[in-house]
Every structure is written in structure tokens, then in C-alpha cells.
């Protein structure tokens, strides 16, 4: 798992108040002082959120944008050391008297180790998507590339709106609720098509070899028609449960509710149950 910045923050914000809190309370139980370990936990969380920004910045210097295990360990040591130094020198608010070093070491070490081990494996067993999302539980997903339905490549653009009585642009069959109409065989793949000519550069666009300022060559002329390719209806247009049913001669209603032709196949096309 290669973390993203939001992934790093979410890991901290979810794991420190859960796993971290349990370990902190256990440490507090042993030393009969809950407040100091709780403050230390808070500092680990708050400082960590800032550290994460630095870590993520460091990955931009790495070609693979990754965060090796060895870096994870080194970061854990540096973070812990900084907090300890601040506790004993600056006297961080909330921690009036520094706890004994072994107490801090055990608390911090246990928290770090348990989170490290959770990240290495067990978390994925519960959250299948988590590792693909750079450690994020919450992520905004776009199902489609927004501009995908319109392929706006210049070669194609030129053909939009060009009246061609012989071959109007074909649009893929739409399913707006009605059974699909068979539009006849599609001539496009079988008709003899003229090869599209690449017209190459136009020397007239250049006033001379040394012309530094270019005149935009404009659209490249095409001799042959370019077929327009349009996508099918978007998922939003089609209700999930909508089924286009063929006319059936002898209806067979399956236990799942799907009606199909009794003589057509031995299995329900919807759920796969055998026809009885």
C-alpha cells in the first residue's frame, strides 16, 4: 500500500483514537495516571498530521512516489524522539512533570508497533478497497470520466454536423425503456471505406524556414469520411432492475420472477435456476 496524504491522515485519525486509545488506557491503568499518557497520545496525533504533510512532500522526490517500510520505521523513530524531546525541554501543556522514559517508550512503542502491524496486513482483510485507495477509507469516486461520452478529437469534430446524405452518423442503439429496434445491418464495418489521408504539414503556413511566429495551420483536411462513434446510454439513464424482455411464445416464470421462453434453454437466464 502506497499511502496518499488523505490516506495518512485517515489512518492517524482512525487508528490513534481506537487502537492508540486502548493501549494508552492500559498504560494509564498500570501507572495510575491516565491524564499524562492521554496528552502524549494527543500530541502524537496532532504532530503526526503535520509530519504527514512533510512525508507526502518527500515522496514527490521519489520516482515511484512510494513510502518504503524502512522509511516508515525511520519516521516512527523521529516522531517519537521529537515528542520526547519536547516533553522534557519545552514542557508541553498538559504534561507538567515528564513521565519516566520507559513509560513513554512503552506507550509510544506499543502504539506505533500495533498500527504498523495493522497496516501491513490485517486491515485489508476487513476493508478490501482500503489498500487500493492509498490508505483511505473515504474517497470520492467518479464512476465515469465526465467528458467521456463526447470524444472531442479534432479529426472527429470536423465531421460533426457535416451533412452526408449517404451515411449519417450512426448512434449506438439507445435503451430508453422501449424494446430495441433492429436498425438493420450496420454497414460501417463492411462498407469499403476510403483510407483516411493524413494531409501532413502545410508548407504554406510558414512564411519561411526561420519564421518564429507560426500561423495556426488550422484543421487538417480530410478526404474520407470519419465515422462518428457515440457511446451507449449512461448508467444513470438505465434503472438497474429494468429488463428488456423479448416476446416469448410459451412463457415460463422462474421462481426468481423472471419470465423467459420455456423452450429456450434449460436455465433461467436471470438467476440460472433450472427450468422445472
Amino acid at each position: 500500500m502506497t499511502p496518499t496524504l488523505f490516506g495518512r491522515w485517515q489512518i492517524r485519525l482512525f487508528l490513534l483514537p481506537t487502537v492508540g486509545l486502548i493501549i494508552t488506557l492500559l498504560v494509564g491503568l498500570v501507572i495510575h495516571n491516565y491524564l499524562t499518557p492521554l496528552w502524549a497520545l494527543l500530541y502524537v496525533l496532532v504532530f503526526g498530521l503535520v509530519w504527514d504533510i512533510l512525508y507526502q512532500f518527500m515522496t514527490t522526490f521519489r520516482w515511484d512516489r512510494d513510502w518504503p517500510t524502512s522509511f516508515q520505521v525511520a519516521a516512527g523513530i523521529v516522531e517519537g524522539a521529537l515528542i520526547w524531546v519536547l516533553i522534557i525541554t519545552v514542557r508541553l501543556p498538559g504534561i507538567k512533570t515528564p513521565p519516566p522514559f520507559p513509560v513513554f517508550l512503552i506507550q509510544y512503542g506499543l502504539i506505533w508497533l500495533s498500527i504498523f502491524l495493522l497496516l501491513q496486513g490485517p486491515l485489508r482483510l476487513f476493508f478490501l478497497n482500503w489498500r487500493y485507495q492509498g490508505g483511505q477509507w473515504f474517497i470520492t469516486r467518479t464512476r465515469r470520466v465526465s467528458q467521456a461520452p463526447v470524444v472531442l478529437y479534432p479529426v472527429q469534430q470536423q465531421q460533426v454536423g457535416v451533412a452526408n446524405p449517404l451515411e449519417p452518423p450512426r448512434v449506438a442503439p439507445a435503451f430508453a425503456g422501449a424494446p430495441p429496434q433492429y436498425a438493420g445491418p450496420n454497414p460501417a464495418p463492411y462498407a469499403v471505406q476510403q483510407p483516411v489521408q493524413f494531409a501532413g504539414p502545410n508548407p504554406a503556413q510558414f512564411a519561411g524556414p526561420q519564421a518564429a511566429q507560426f500561423v495556426s495551420p488550422g484543421p487538417v483536411p480530410l478526404d474520407a469520411q470519419q465515422t462518428l462513434r457515440a457511446p451507449g446510454p449512461s448508467a444513470a439513464q438505465i434503472p438497474a432492475e429494468q429488463t428488456v424482455r423479448a416476446t416469448v411464445n410459451q412463457p415460463y416464470v422462474c421462481a426468481c420472477g423472471f419470465t423467459s421462453d420455456r423452450n429456450a434453454g434449460n436455465f433461467c437466464p436471470s438467476c440460472g435456476r433450472p427450468k422445472v
Binding site: 502506497t2 489498500r131 467521456a148 433450472p274
Partner: protein
């Protein structure tokens, strides 16, 4: 405007950075190169300026001029402002390496009319015109295409697909369901239909099973009974025996959708169990230290194959898979899809079969092996298939002969396969010292790709990277960035991140260093003009180096091993080509199938029916690492999650607790539990058998 007599025509050749497919431009000077649409050649990369460079004629000479670009134009490893180019010389702009050559005017005419070469390459028209706006015309690339019995066929031997289809050639885009039932052909009906039967199909089916679909609702059609059948054979041919390591991450486990325990962890435990402390320590050190303290751990191929076979057993792959060579896919008029495939009937004759499914996943992988044009031409001319081989072909005779007699081997291509072959040659060389390796590159790579602040490392003119894409493309920020990008940005990012690389393995670097020092490993740069056969049966390579002091070289070698890789161009796959033509599907900037972020093939939805894609056919879409183990699993996961959203039968959301309980079943080797549609005890309990008899004659 220059007069016609002064017009110089040139041919520029380069390759697409992400796909490795050749590109060519032939035309008169002047030619401008840059990122924006006003240029003659549009180069999509953040390292290319809007107006980057210009090629112009000056009294019969070709002048390359940098137009004050930010990142510079390079020729002969030096940044230039203006330089005269000789024929065959190369220059570099961003990640693109160009070779320039002067051509007579007649050749320009020919090149501007790309003739349809063979029967079903008509669709190339679309991608050619489409791609030409971005990066020149694709070169009519040579390829060896896998045939139905999975031997390699020269391209000319392919048969056009539409001539042999049933149902009147299936010329309609939508097949009436009654025609299918009354066709007299065997029909199988299923809900989930996986086309391909390889690792991509397996990843999707594995997710379907774990998300709750019973095995008797899934059919996978392919040529190999084992999901990794073809992959393991290609590994063997390209010199990855079972004990060698793949180029794959420790937690990319095609046998385990959770990726834990990872292969590294499993190998440590296995080694400890066998008492092999040394290996356990080696693995632990590499898993922990990768990639900064030591090179990256990768699993042994044999371990992966065994693990996948075990998982295939667990999910009932034997009941799901059936033999078939897929020919075509069509929508039906009841919101499903029909897949036509060839399979033997009771008498063992190959006949058409039909499979009906509501949700189809296409995972057809690489349709063939890429082969360099000059080698292909030589092979067709001389019928010499022993001295020029492709690394993915069976070519053990090369090593056997070298072991006995020694000789000179030329290696073409600079990827991971080339590294493997050199390693194998090094091993053979331990037994016979009379082996010389000549490595020919088209162009030097003095500096690695750059992306923002990061630079890719280069050793011996080969770029280094643990995997075939930067690691952040799998699960990190790069994956998310690519998914959210629009088409043009995806094209640019793929060019910036792509390119041929090899793994940063110290043993390989030691071999190269030792070979260079001792002289038995040599590197040459240049464009191969032609291969000839010498009297002694050796192959003579005529190399034009573009260097003024030594423009031509003739290299005499016993063998040439082409390590340029596999091809996944849509027009090389008859099934996809036919589908794209029939449904007028859009292609992405890399000329591959256009898929949504859920890997649904755009334009193929049919009422409730959906078609999903995965693998190399979707490169240029939302995911860069489509042909990796983890990339295939990701495509499978996204497709299955989309199906959950569509409330497809048998599927349920994989809640954290269900996910964990399914993982415990994986640990125990128990079949994924599902709400079976055929309750045990009915006459149809053996779903596989029953469906087999359900064939309609």
C-alpha cells in the same frame, strides 16, 4: 514558401512511450513538434513545450532547431539550439526518441495512403487517423499472433473473422434471441460470462465467487484449463523458470484478493519450516529494505503458479472454465450478450458454440508477440526461424547450441526480458567462455524520465524501476491522479511515467559491468537497416549509427534474440477489432478500448447487460498498471462492485465482517459460501454436468 524542387521530405520514426508501439511520420519539411494542436507532430508530455522544436530544410540539409523550449532538445546527448541532422541520426524531445531519415517524394505519397493491409485490419483506419493527431501514424507493426492451439502464427496466416461466423455472419449489431435458439448450434446460458479464461478472467471470477455468486452461474471460456497456463508458458520461454523471481510485488497475490499474507511472508514461513534460515533472512531483508536499502523482493514464479492453482481449485474453476476459442461478441435483443466460440463437439470436430450471458468480462490479454520489422522481414525472406528468435518463443536451442559451440548473440530491446536473457546467457557462459553478447539499442538513454521533482535512474542506458510502472500507480497518489484525469492528461501522464525499464537488480548490474569490462558484453546504438544471411549461416545486421565517423556498421552474429515484448493493439485481436467495428466503439488516447472508471466498456451496455474489460486492452484509461496481477485484481474488484451496485444476481456487498469471514475460508481452503441457486440434493446438483447436457442440438 519553398519551391517544390527544394522541398525535403523526411521520415521520422519514434515509439509511443507507454505502449511501445511504433509511430511514423512522413512528409515535407518544415515540421514542427510540440504539445499543442498547431504543431505538425503533437507530443503529449509535460516535458514537451507548447512549441518545442522545428525541423526545416536549409539548402538540402535538415536542420533541427530548438524553439526555446523549457526542457530542451537533445541530439547526441547534448542540449542543442540548432544542429544539422544527417540521415539516420536521432534526437530526443522529452521522453520521445526520434530517428530522422530523408525520403524521396514518391515515398511521401505512399505513406500518406496507408493501404489496408489485410482482411480485418480495417479498423486501423480509425485508430490511425485518431492517433495521427496525437503522435503520428502507427507503423504497420509486425506481430506474431497466437493461434487457436496457441502456437504462434505469422500475421499473414490469420483468417478474417467475419467469414466464418454463424447466424449469417452475425452482421447485425443486435441478434434476436429467437435466432440464437433456433440456430441449431449448442447454446449455454449463464449469468456471468468471462471471455479469455486467463489471469484477468480468474481475478474477476475470484471476486464474483467471494462476493457470493455460485460457481454454476459463471462460465469462463478460454484455451487453457489453468488460469495461468499461457502466462506460465510465456514465463518459461522468456527465461523465468519456476525458481526464478517474477517482476511482481510481494502483496500482489492473484490467488488472494486481500493480498495478505503476502508472498514474502509466505516464503519466510515456508523457508523457516524447511529450515532454510538463509533464504528466510534474505526475504525478510528485501521485504523490509525495498527499494531503498536493497532491491525489491519479488516472488518466485513457481510459488505464484501453485498458489493460483490452489485458489482455482477452491473456487471451483473446473466447473466454471470450458474450452473455447472466442470469435465474436454481440448484443442480443433481450438485454444479454452472445459469445460465439469454437469448441469440439462429441465427435471431436471444431464447431461453433454460443454462450449467452448477461454480464460479460473481456480479458483477452495480449493477442500476440511484437516482432521487430527488420527481423520479421528477414524471417519471411529467408525462412530462417532458428537464428532469429523472439524471446517469448520457445528458443532453448539457442542456449543449447551456445553451450556446445559458443558464438555471438545479438539482443534487441532493453526491457526486463532482455535482462533475463542476458542473465541466462551469463549462466551458459559459465560453461563456455566463447560467448559474446551484443546489445543493440535504437538510441542511447543518457537520462531517465522526469516527472516533477523526481527522476528515474539509468544504468548502462537502461532505465531502472522495480516494476513496469512507478509503484505509486498501483495504490498510491499516481493511481488516483490518473483516474481523475481527462483523456489528454491521461495520455500525457502515461507518456511521462511509461517507457521500457528493467528491475534494479544488483546481480544483473554486476553481470553487465563485468561483461563490459571483460569485453564479452557490448552495447551498440543505431537503426537496423536490414538483416542478411552470410555464407556461413550467420546473420549480418546492417546498422546505421548516424555518427559522422562511422555511419554504417555490419554486425555478424550467430543468433538474434528479439526482446521487444508483446503487442496489445486492438486491431491485432480479431474479436475486439470486430466488436469495435460493429458497435462503433470509441477508443482511448492509446488506441485501446474506452472503459469507465469501473472498467465497463463504454458503448457496450445492453439494457441491464454490461460488458467489462481489463488488462492490456484498456491501457490509456483510468489505470496504468492494467496488465499487472494487482491491476487485474483491481479491475475485477471495480467491475464486481459496479455489479453489486446494479444489484446483479447472487452478489452482495462485502461488508468488513463478511470480508473477514471469507478470508478465513480462504485460509482454511474452504469454498466461498454463496446462496446457491441450485440447492444440494436436486437433480441439478452437479451444475457443470447439467449445463453440459443443457446444450441444445
Amino acid at each position: 514558401m519553398p519551391a517544390d524542387s527544394q522541398t525535403l521530405n523526411v521520415q521520422l520514426t519514434w515509439s509511443d512511450v507507454a505502449t511501445g508501439e511504433g509511430r511514423e511520420f512522413v512528409g515535407p519539411l518544415p515540421i514542427t513538434l510540440g504539445r499543442t494542436a498547431e504543431n505538425t507532430i503533437i507530443l503529449s508530455s509535460s516535458r514537451v513545450s507548447r512549441r518545442h522544436a522545428m525541423l526545416r530544410a536549409d539548402g538540402g540539409r535538415i536542420i533541427l532547431q530548438d524553439l526555446q523550449s523549457t526542457n530542451g532538445t537533445f541530439a547526441n546527448d547534448a542540449r542543442i539550439t540548432e544542429v544539422q541532422l544527417t540521415a539516420g541520426s536521432s534526437f530526443q524531445i522529452g521522453p520521445f526518441h526520434f530517428t530522422v531519415r530523408e525520403v524521396p517524394a514518391a515515398a511521401v505519397q505512399a505513406a500518406q495512403l496507408p493501404a489496408t493491409r489485410r482482411g480485418f485490419e480495417k479498423s486501423a483506419l480509425f485508430s490511425q487517423s485518431f492517433l495521427s493527431r496525437f503522435a503520428g501514424l502507427p507503423v504497420g507493426e509486425s506481430a506474431l499472433v497466437f493461434s487457436h492451439d496457441d502456437k504462434l502464427l505469422p500475421e499473414a496466416a490469420k483468417e478474417p473473422v467475419e467469414e466464418s461466423l454463424p447466424l449469417g455472419g452475425m452482421r447485425q449489431p443486435i441478434i434476436p434471441i429467437n435466432d440464437i435458439y433456433h440456430s441449431g448450434l449448442p447454446v449455454i446460458e449463464t449469468t456471468y460470462l468471462a471471455v479469455g479464461g486467463g489471469i484477468g478472467s480468474f481475478a474477476w471470477v475470484d471476486h464474483l465467487r467471494i462476493f457470493g455468486v455460485p460457481a454454476d452461474q459463471i462460465v469462463a471460456i478460454g484455451l487453457e484449463p489453468r488460469p495461468m497456463g499461457r502466462y506460465s508458458r510465456l514465463c518459461g520461454n522468456s527465461q523465468i523458470p519456476l525458481h526464478e523471481r517474477l517482476r511482481s510485488n510481494s502483496d500482489s497475490c492473484p490467488d488472494n484478493i486481500w493480498g495478505w499474507p503476502s508472498y514474502g511472508l509466505r516464503e519466510i514461513f515456508r523457508s523457516l519450516g524447511k529450515g532454510e534460515m538463509g533464504n528466510a533472512w534474505w526475504v525478510a531483508r528485501h521485504v523490509f529494505g525495498e527499494p531503498s536499502l536493497t532491491y525489491t523482493y519479488t516472488p518466485r514464479s513457481g510459488d505464484v503458479f501453485r498458489a493460483v492453482d490452489k485458489e482455482a481449485q477452491r473456487i471451483g474453476w473446473g466447473r466454471i472454465w470450458r474450452y473455447g476459442r472466442v470469435q465474436a461478441i454481440r448484443k442480443t435483443d433481450d438485454g444479454r450478450y452472445v459469445v460465439v466460440y469454437m469448441a469440439p463437439d462429441q465427435r471431436g470436430q471444431m464447431v461453433h458454440h454460443l454462450a449467452l450471458g448477461r454480464y460479460v468480462q473481456l480479458a483477452m490479454g495480449y493477442p500476440g508477440i511484437k516482432i521487430l520489422d527488420d527481423i520479421n522481414e528477414y524471417r519471411e525472406r529467408t525462412r530462417d526461424y532458428t537464428h532469429t528468435v523472439n524471446a517469448y518463443e520457445e528458443h532453448n536451442h539457442v542456449y543449447e547450441h551456445l553451450k556446445k559451440n559458443g558464438g555471438v548473440v545479438m539482443i534487441r530491446g532493453r526491457g526486463i526480458v532482455a535482462s533475463r536473457v542476458i542473465q541466462r546467457l551469463y549462466e551458459v557462459r559459465q560453461q563456455n567462455k566463447n560467448i559474446v553478447i551484443i546489445h543493440v539499442h535504437r538510441n542511447p538513454v543518457p537520462k531517465g524520465h522526469r516527472d516533477g521533482r523526481a527522476v528515474r535512474r539509468v544504468i548502462n542506458h537502461v532505465e531502472l524501476q522495480p516494476f513496469n510502472w512507478p509503484k505509486g500507480c498501483w495504490t498510491g497518489s499516481m493511481r488516483i491522479r490518473l483516474e481523475r484525469a481527462d483523456d489528454e492528461e491521461r495520455d500525457r501522464l502515461l507518456n511521462d511515467w511509461g517507457g521500457t525499464t528493467t528491475a534494479d537488480r544488483t546481480d544483473w548490474q554486476r553481470i553487465a559491468k563485468q561483461g563490459l569490462r571483460e569485453g564479452w558484453y557490448q552495447i551498440y546504438f543505431g537503426e537496423v537497416k536490414r538483416l542478411e544471411r552470410s555464407g556461413k549461416g550467420q546473420v549480418v545486421t546492417q546498422l546505421s549509427t548516424g555518427k559522422p565517423n562511422q555511419p554504417e556498421l555490419a554486425l555478424i552474429t550467430d543468433y538474434i534474440i528479439d526482446c521487444t515484448g508483446l503487442t496489445a493493439a486492438i486491431d491485432k485481436n480479431p474479436v475486439l477489432n470486430d466488436m469495435v467495428n460493429t458497435y462503433q466503439l470509441g477508443l482511448n488516447p492509446k488506441g485501446r478500448l474506452r472503459v469507465t472508471n469501473d472498467f465497463e466498456v463504454e458503448g457496450m451496455s445492453n439494457g441491464p447487460g454490461r460488458v467489462y474489460g481489463c488488462g492490456a486492452m484498456t491501457l490509456g484509461g483510468p489505470h496504468a498498471v492494467v496488465d499487472s496481477f494487482l491491476g487485474l485484481q483491481y479491475a475485477g474488484l471495480r467491475a464486481v462492485e459496479d455489479l453489486v451496485r446494479l444489484r446483479a444476481p447472487g452478489l452482495r456487498k462485502l461488508t468488513p465482517l463478511r470480508s473477514f469471514s471469507q478470508w478465513t475460508r480462504w485460509v482454511r481452503g474452504a469454498e466461498p459460501n454463496s446462496r446457491s441457486s441450485t440447492p444440494a440434493g436436486t437433480a441439478y446438483a452437479g451444475g457443470f454436468q447439467a449445463q453440459g447436457q443443457g446444450v441444445r442440438a
